[in-house]
Symmetry: C3
Subunit: 357 residues, 3 copies
């Protein structure tokens, strides 16, 4: 998805990430790669000293290692002509990846097959691909790229430098911030799931609120963020959500939250800033997850629960320590049962002795 | 997704939902809102007397309260000039929402970019949006609205007044009733997941049945209803299904069933009328859920299980009471273990005393 | 999705599947059906002798039964004029289904609304439906059928005789083998979910690898296979995956693996050939599932786990036998508690007796 971007020297790259070079700082680097697959003009990284010991065969032109590990790196990775020491090698590698592998660029274009309402407000430098539809009064900001078959409803606002991958659907009235990436098929603003029952069946509760995706958010393929019944559903700035996640109506997801694939979030859940949520987690409605909470994969959170800072696990969730302790107890059940049987026999013996004495 | 519709007086609205007005029945109401956000020309509701006590600051023009709570409402919600008493306030609010916020309407249109097979049979008052494809011999009923990039296969029947949101896929031969709402990306009629293994690999079991969605059904975004292997998969009248749900081949889902997000239903499962199923539930194949059963979120139902009326929970499912009881027992395991240790010591003492005596 | 294909005689069909006919081998058969719904010109099957006893009312023109059950079939299924004995009746039925119900065929066509990059390389006998987009330098092999609104990126390779159902998305650079079936909305090659945190938020880890789908794979609707960070994500030959499955970056799924709906696989998981995975299973990252392993639905596999051959169950997974044993122990907890109480009382009595004696 990226195209090879620029070429940089090891020295330039080190400067950009605040690293320190030993070896040849003038070597040109073209791409990032893993230690095992990197070749000439590639840069690789090791996260720690332990991983460094497996770099004897590494053929990269440069290797990023932790601060202080440069000398050892020169000894082990003898095929690598340049070493960069950095305080956070993985972070440095990610930043260098961003520099070397530019995001795909499209020349500004409105493809002739795109159908754009006359009242839509499209910035000049936008790319709009084939078979896109954009509704009335919608706004697309500068530098935004909208790939094929995306459908944007009426009264939608999309900010600057966003990427909408193919077949994204934005329902009427939703708002997308700047630098947002929506992967294939993301759906923002579908009706929340709310009904009121009477004698004959279900009546839809009004689903007339909206949904807001703030700046720097990335949503994975087919992730759904429902509109609010009344009010708004919000995904906060810098939050990253994986594929096939469901975010129900009126949820308020804070900033820099991370949510892994296939997690489901019922209506009116609040997840505060910087929380981390694993995959396939389920939230009942009106849960509040506090900042600093980490919820393990496949956990289940009962409706109304307040999840305090710390690591949580299980169905329903418990602090990880408690979960482990109880799990250990469960694992010892056969032994407990055997002990119980033994005690019963010893008691019986005692009873017999006592009655015979 | 809705556009503000009509304006009604409080009196008219009360009459439409069988409510009783106190205060000014002539005030005009334009929209529904929550107690906290409602302003002039808005109507809000409280579901019970407890919630009524938090309406001091409510600035709605009208408030729906439970029968008999009108007097108290006048005392508490002093800023609200009109009160409607109704036997079911939430239901009244939902019905009023439907009146005030008309569903989006589209003028009849077949967009010039739509590709419609010559043999398709399209009613006169249909809306067909940009980039839609409709196959041979398919029928679209009066008043139906088909949004952008929907793909309808051959020999598909769609009834009256349906809404197909963007990028819905209907495979060949499926049937959609009247007043059906299919949210973005709903997929009806993909092949069921059935293979027969031989020495070299898997052969597909025939997936040549069909799928039928009955009247008044609503399916959430990216929900998949597979076609039957032989025979039909059915979603019964008035059933409501949330986002990202999987319904396998040959399932028979009854009427007025509710299924929350991300639930997965294996092949040949029967869910009888009026059952309620939470989110992320998993069903093995050939399960039968009887009418009156309620299955909690994240539950797992083993293949072939018959789920009787009542509330069920857990993996595998148990009656909720049993589940809670066992969970409490598990929670007491550390204590049981301590007791066991204590008894062991007391027995040892007894044994020593007895042997020494 | 299939259209009735050819007509064959019972004798021809039996010969094609290595079966033995008793009764009239000249009867024409047009379609496959279940025992209950089959009529004239239909062929049905029973998998075993037990099911054979329910065929009294079967009105099929032919019935496939297990080897050696032909005589009994003539006695029970008296309305059926022809019986085929086969060693694996269900397999024979599947193969006959493939013969009688040809896959949908499309005449070669590039629909005029399709947008195809000039540098794309499209074989002569390809079908490309309405509103399809195909990017630069992509290759589509002979006999492949691409349904409406599919989006193929740049530098994609698609092999021979594939079927891409509507709204499939293939990101840049992915490779699809021969005879691959991708159901509606399948997404191959979206960015993996990997970020590196610093003080201000998350930076994307490079997602510049690719994804490869080998020959004879079938992927269900909205299943997502992410591209690798570095290197490749692979789905091996003959593997079958159900709807709404998530396959994370750098996974290596072997050949003839079966994965049921809504399962989620984190990054860098290896599933070896012929493994079987149920629905809604969750895998932590860096798991290795060995050939011969069967993982039950809703199981959870902890990161880094090696899953050996055998049947596994539970969260976290255990061998099925252990799982059942522990579950039985948990079920006996109330009884254990009662026993503990009883023993406590008996000890108390003993203590009293002893102290009074």
């Amino acid at each position: 998805m990226d195209e090879a971007g620029r070429v940089k020297t090891v020295g330039e790259l080190a400067a950009l990430v605040g690293g320190r070079v030993s070896g040849d700082a003038h070597i040109s680097i073209e791409y990032v790669a893993s230690v095992g697959s990197a070749g000439v003009r590639a840069i690789a990284f090791v996260e720690n000293r332990k991983a460094l010991e497996d770099t004897q065969e590494c053929s990269a032109s440069a290797l990023i290692v932790p601060d202080g590990a440069g000398e050892r790196a020169r000894e082990v990775a003898q095929k690598v002509p340049a070493i960069i020491e950095a305080s956070k090698p993985k972070l440095a590698f990610a930043l260098i990846g961003k520099i070397l592998h530019l995001q795909k660029r499209r020349e500004p274009l409105i493809h002739p097959t795109a159908v754009i309402a006359p009242s839509a407000n499209i910035a000049l430098t936008v790319y709009i691909g084939p078979h896109v539809s954009i509704g009335e009064n919608s706004t697309i900001g500068t530098g935004t790229r909208i790939e094929a078959s995306v459908v944007v409803g009426d009264d939608v606002t999309i900010g600057l430098n966003c990427v909408l991958q193919p077949s994204v659907t934005l329902y009427d009235g939703v708002t997308i911030g700047d630098n947002v990436v929506l992967h294939a098929g993301v759906c923002v603003g579908a009706d929340g799931f709310g009904y009121v029952r009477d004698d004959v069946g279900y009546h839809k509760f009004p689903q007339i609120g909206t949904a807001v995706i703030e700046d720097d958010v990335e949503l994975g393929a087919y992730t759904c963020v429902d509109r609010a019944a009344l009010g708004q559903t919000r995904i906060g700035r810098g939050t990253k959500i994986d594929n096939l996640v469901h975010v129900g109506h009126n949820c308020d997801i804070g900033e820099r939250v991370v949510i892994a694939a296939q997690t489901g979030i019922s209506g009116s859940v609040i997840i505060e800033d910087d929380a981390v949520v694993g995959g396939q987690v389920g939230f009942g409605d009106h849960v509040r997850v506090q900042s600093g909470a980490v919820i393990g994969s496949k956990a289940g959170v009962l409706p109304g629960k307040i999840v305090r800072p710390g690591v949580w696990w299980g169905i329903p969730i418990q602090p990880l320590d408690e979960y482990k302790r109880l799990n250990a107890h469960i694992g010892r059940l056969p032994q407990m049962r055997a002990e119980l049987k033994e005690l019963r026999e010893r008691i019986k013996e005692l009873e017999e002795k006592l009655s015979s004495s």
